[in-house]
């Protein structure tokens, strides 16, 4: 069984092809965000180099969110198009979970931090137990203080990774000091191999979707909706 995975939720464009016990290829670009141009050529180049036809693939796994809205949609639209044209299922993989999967040797808890802009982060807490990744909790767009408070109370070392770690590094150190451990650069960014393997696991458990129903998970409403609600509440209170 072969699963094609990709993640365009952040600045990193990453695509991979995996089978049950093997990573066949993992192509990653990590310089600037131009997924609309580069994603499809990356997939095409990788499969071409592997001499594998799209028709031989059994499923498409894609980072469903959280992350950059436009990035998520480029990934989702590509996944849906591939899935529909090839007649194979789509599997959505949580971006934070996929990041935590990068550190599958970690004895410590793992805290992926994605920059959600406006001073907020998408984050969660994960842990490996008996070779299985457990989600301790996961939150939508929140202030970083919120999760740092929780981790401080745990009073144990925690691995940090993701594009939000560099933005909030000083704040994390000031609260957690030596208990904050940083993942090495190649493991701190989204890796499609992790997305693909998590997708494969889900596929084996029957957790798959059709291209008709699949959509990104934003974990945040649009600014227009938030402002509209504020305006309505104000009018009500007047």
């Amino acid at each position: 069984m072969m699963v094609l995975g990709f993640d365009t939720s952040s600045v990193t464009a990453t695509v991979a092809l995996v089978s049950e016990d093997k990573l066949l290829a993992d192509y990653t670009l990590n310089n600037k965000k131009n997924h609309s141009e580069k994603l499809m050529p990356l997939i095409s180049q990788m499969l071409n180099d592997l001499e594998i036809e799209p028709a031989e693939i059994d499923a498409v796994a894609v980072a469903e969110g959280p992350g950059s809205f436009t990035g998520l949609r480029i990934g989702a639209a590509t996944a849906k198009g591939l899935s529909y044209a090839a007649g194979i299922p789509v599997i959505g993989v949580n971006t934070l979970e996929a990041l935590a999967y990068n550190l599958n040797f970690s004895p410590y808890m793992i805290c992926p931090v994605l920059n959600a802009r406006r001073g907020q982060v998408y984050t969660g807490l994960y842990m490996w137990e008996n070779n299985e990744l457990k989600t301790i909790f996961q939150c939508s767009a929140v202030e970083i203080e919120k999760i740092l408070k929780v981790i401080k109370n745990l009073d144990q070392p925690v691995f940090f990774l993701g594009d939000g770690t560099s933005v909030f590094k000083e704040q994390i150190i000031s609260v957690l000091g030596g208990n904050a451990i940083w993942a090495p650069p190649p493991l701190s960014i989204p890796r499609a191999s992790s997305v693909a393997f998590l997708g494969l696991n889900k596929l084996l458990k029957g957790e798959k979707q059709t291209p008709f129903e699949f959509k990104p998970q934003y974990f945040r409403r649009s600014q227009a909706e938030i402002q509209f609600e504020k305006r309505c509440l104000k009018e009500e209170n007047q």
């Binding site: 499809m40 050529p41 436009t70 590509t78 849906k80 198009g81 044209a85 649009s222 227009a224």
Partner: protein, 354 residues
């Protein structure tokens, strides 16, 4: 060649079929068109209700809706055309101008389809698409002609010399014609979208009652400006209110509409005369406007000019027009690779005469 022998039944004709996708604004659309002219299907999923309460299109919400509708719409386009991917020879897709986040949904999906099915990918200019909507219903129509593209997003006067050979004669310097309708309707508290509402109200009003300004700009210019007339309407309403006088909304709508339409018609007819063109086509959402159709029709007739415009369904954003433009581009070898990108402000390709 093989197709001609293998398939004999009616729907498996030997034409060149293009599946096109359009997501530049607030309609998700997919269509199958044969030989650039014969529409086999044209599916449009409109988001108007979603954006109504915001008084205009919210780009992020439009993109969120596109990603949900894109596959169902494509699927329906193939079903209604009673064909599969095996009967498609190319994929066309709008790459701009438009809302970039919205465009990227259609483009990403179209790339994936083209890649898996090993089909040529053709990136199409949205304005070009609007013009080509006229080919879908008028088999006798061929360039050269003059095209007036008027919608909520654009107002362009284009000299179409041949397929793929354009000269942009004029464009709006501020608001698009449709935008002026939307903004004026909003200012009058009439709702969204403004075009059809004002058109309807104007039918019961006196268009010569209020003399709103017409912006003709420089003597020789084919450019447009519609922000002034919108402001004039607002000032008129405020003055009336201050004086405690009654406002006849029908007269305001009719007079405003005439101010916009008159400039559009005057400049188009003058351009046709200057360039010695005897055919005019209209396109885009505002080409549905009844006053524009009547006035342009009368003036064209007086001048001995043939006038064409599409049915309302092909005036709004739709993928059939994109498929038509993609077809003629395909014939010219205008194929794109998988690096194709979208551009919010994509310009119409222009030819320079030598």
């Amino acid at each position: 060649m093989e197709r001609q022998f293998v398939r004999g039944c009616k729907k498996m004709s030997t034409g060149l079929r293009i599946l096109a996708v359009e997501t530049s604004c607030d309609e998700t659309s997919a269509a199958v068109v044969e030989d650039g002219r014969r529409v086999l299907s044209n599916i449009i999923s409109s988001q108007i209700d979603l954006h109504k309460k915001f008084g205009g299109v919210v780009p992020e919400l439009a993109s969120r809706k596109h990603i949900e509708s894109i596959i169902p719409v494509i699927h329906e386009a193939l079903e209604q055309a009673e064909i599969t991917f095996d009967d498609i020879q190319a994929i066309g897709v709008t790459i701009g101008p438009g809302l970039v986040g919205a465009l990227l949904v259609g483009l990403s999906a179209a790339k994936a389809l083209a890649y898996v099915r090993k089909l040529p990918l053709i990136g199409v200019n949205h304005i070009e698409g609007h013009i080509y909507a006229n080919f879908l219903e008028h088999p006798e129509l061929n360039p050269p002609f003059l095209a007036l593209v008027v919608s909520g997003g654009h107002t362009e006067l284009v000299y179409v010399k041949d397929y793929g050979r354009y000269e942009l004669l004029g464009r709006t310097r501020d608001d698009a014609a449709g935008e002026a309708f939307d903004k004026t309707a909003r200012a009058l508290g009439l709702g969204y979208p403004g075009g059809p509402i004002i058109d309807e109200l104007a039918k019961k009003g006196n268009a010569d009652k209020i003399d709103f300004p017409r912006a003709y700009l420089e003597n020789d210019s084919y450019d447009f400006s519609f922000s002034g007339v919108k402001t004039a309407v607002l000032n008129y309403i405020n003055q009336k209110k201050q004086r405690g006088e009654k406002i006849d909304i029908h007269d305001v709508a009719a007079s405003f509409q005439k101010a916009v339409v008159e400039v559009l018609v005057d400049k188009t007819i003058r351009a046709a005369d200057d360039k010695k063109i005897n055919t005019i086509v209209m396109a885009g959402g505002v080409a549905v406007n009844s006053a524009l159709r009547v006035m342009m029709g009368n003036r064209a007739k007086e001048a001995g000019i043939k006038l064409y415009y599409p049915s309302p369904v092909y005036c709004t954003d739709n993928a059939a027009m994109i498929a038509s433009a993609a077809y003629y581009q395909f014939l010219r070898g205008g194929q794109s690779d998988l690096y194709l990108n979208a551009s919010a402000s994509l310009k119409l390709p222009q030819v320079v005469e030598t």
